[in-house]
Symmetry: D2
Subunit: 245 residues, 4 copies
């Protein structure tokens, strides 16, 4: 009797083990690798970001004209503003894959139309432009409006400016890859969240941004962030980048 009971228990135990208790919660719990801790803020850059502009100076930038003279734009009241005619500005550092945060604001005085109103742009690796434009009630081509990959991909939505007039771009960028023959094997890819609205979602780059003619796809390595001087008094603030590597 005892024997029988225990045998039943034994088989029941094995059977139970096989059928229900075999997995323990900890089987699917891992402690390595350990994600790095990042402090966050509603107004400042994450603690592991490379701060490109925090309101104080342009130490991380040079002029695009010669790639070495100081960036000549205006810094006033924590805000960076294009100084028309001085040319674009470009980071000293080069980047491959990254997350980029930029805030921008159209000129106070609205003038011009289409591409002539509040135009600037963020160039990823110095080659691929996310358009900046005073887009509100300002008709232009859709692959040239704010949030577009300029002259390539229109945004999924036209996100209007926020209450205080500022725009935010949160950009995820994976650089294109080329093989040892220089042939493109993986297109560059861009995700853009514009004022909290997804406007580019893993959009593949056709090639370099060209105002006239076709995008070009030539093998390249790491490159800088550049901001365009298109002659308009566009302002920027709170620019930071996190390398994904």
């Amino acid at each position: 009797m005892l024997k029988q009971t225990l045998l039943i228990a034994l088989f029941a135990g094995i059977s139970y083990a096989g059928a229900q208790t075999k997995f323990q919660p900890q089987d699917t719990e891992f402690y390595e690798p350990v994600p790095p801790v990042v402090k966050t803020s509603r107004t400042a850059a994450p603690s592991d970001a490379i701060v490109l502009f925090d309101g104080s100076n342009l130490n991380e930038w040079v002029s695009e004209k010669d790639g070495k003279s100081p960036a000549a734009w205006t810094v006033q009241g924590q805000v960076l503003t294009v100084k028309p005619g001085t040319g674009g500005i470009v980071t000293k550092k080069n980047f491959e894959d990254f997350q980029l945060h930029v805030e921008w604001k159209s000129p106070e005085v609205i003038k011009g139309e289409g591409q002539g109103r509040g135009n600037s742009g963020i160039f990823l690796q110095g080659k691929y432009e996310i358009q900046v434009l005073d887009n509100d009630d300002n008709k232009t081509y859709t692959n040239g409006q704010a949030g577009s990959i300029y002259k390539q991909q229109p945004p999924l939505a036209e996100a209007r400016k926020q209450e205080d007039g500022w725009h935010t771009y949160d950009i995820l960028y994976t650089a294109p890859r080329f093989n040892s023959n220089g042939i493109l094997i993986k297109r560059g890819m861009v995700t853009v969240i514009h004022n909290g609205v997804l406007v580019q979602y893993n959009s593949e780059l056709q090639g370099t941004t060209e105002y006239i003619g076709l995008p070009k796809m030539v093998a390249h390595g790491a490159g800088p962030i550049a901001i365009q001087d298109h002659g308009d008094l566009v302002s920027f603030r709170n620019i930071w980048i996190r390398e994904l590597k």
Copy 2:
């Protein structure tokens, strides 16, 4: 002589057109299709979002227990808080691909450790959990910390809470696809920005979230958003979703 000069100029003009000016800027400018206009705000949902919780009521939710009785959590001071023991809450609507915004806050009184401290979770399509946890100085398994795809993928970084104690999740979700035989042909994919920090970047889902045992990958269609009652007084606010379709 004049004639000849002009003829030369004419041919030169054509030739020039062929070799250098042939492209006009407008060749790469498109006006269709037109992205829809979306009004944005620093504090409220984009104008085209489905607001799931704006601080006033739980009309968009039901109890997870039976899928039809009213969601029984606490709404107070514009904030939604888990009522432990009442079970999870789940949206009435189902979704496929989407952008989801959720803000959450750990309980005021810190108690418990590891998974026992400030635990909740956001279930995408009711099946795939983005973990919510009071993560600060609280050791647990990395694929169970805040920002993880629970029991699958740890976050790229451990993003700490913002100044006011609130966390934000901006989630991009592409549902898995199955063929007519029910075989998975494209894994589901999740991107999560946690307090402005990229913590999941096109992470592919292994399958359903399981506390014990293996993720399962069974063909399914659209599904709801669910929030977990894990017994802790986790709070939520400003929840909205934008369908990508």
Copy 3:
């Protein structure tokens, strides 16, 4: 004694279950869904393929000129050959995502140079051309050689013809996807294995194939396979397609 032994065995059973045998091989073995059985052959189409040309007739094709009159190319000795001047041929059926197998052979008499020698092409969904060209020792632009996505992406390698002069293309195609606004949300994607050599690997389409000017990306649904009449006596055989759905 018996009791003790059995108790030990029982606890050993449970303990073993919890610590080491908790996983059983069968935990990760699934019997559903069931892949369909496909008979295969070195010379004929897989049993589940739609045979587009097996050597006997052109019943699956019409003339591209009007989309309805019979395809007017030559069928002789199990081989299909372009009849120059009659225009391309196009399948009666439309397709979305698929695997396509085509064998082709350059004209017996070599004449012409560059794009003028043995030119034809396979159009996926009637819009995106995988180039066919007598490529051997025949200089042309690299994004126009055999195995290229015509005027877009050169092949990873220039695969020369096989011993018997025939070429094989094994093509995997995922159609582009557009959202309800008609905006491209996922580029079309092509993999091509040319004579056993990978020449396109998940290459994203820039848009429609255009001889002159820019690729266009306009929303569309399912489309046919088309083969080009470029005036050269290019031959084809063993054409089949398997829908991926």
Copy 4:
């Protein structure tokens, strides 16, 4: 008068250029980079492949047991056959991303059932198994049948052997990528064409192949190709690999 006419013509010429002739075919024709030439054959490896087994010897392989002693399997009549009990064989070279071609044949004498009949496997980077099994009328779990990613993903179809009893695997493999913290940032991806039939299409790896328990995803670099000794007299021939880099 003449002058005026010609000026009109000139401007007309420019205007014409701008409106219709602006694009020349050559605008979209590129000569760089140049794809390398590869000779192909119906029976032998492409000229740029690393031949792992051409029928003559096992010089490219060692025993998996110690990673250095000679591979002890049988080479006879241009065919390689498992010598049960000697353990798997593994390439001396390591690989990252690649195209792999393998032909295999089930044992002449059919014996055993399920996983016990004609079992072997191809391990990519030594970690991820594409199953080899005598699958015909031999019921087993679908994620363990021929063409499966073993214990992970069933094949899209069950491709039966060809007329002569041989099977071919054409495998495209992109290795997983990990960031500097060791966190997975891109899953490994496998495409398999089995006897001409697509059975895995960009299937993402869940992790290492485990007979018992969960796949593991631990950061690693380049790895070898390995073939399993599962105790059955499975044969192989014509094994080659092309690195994608």
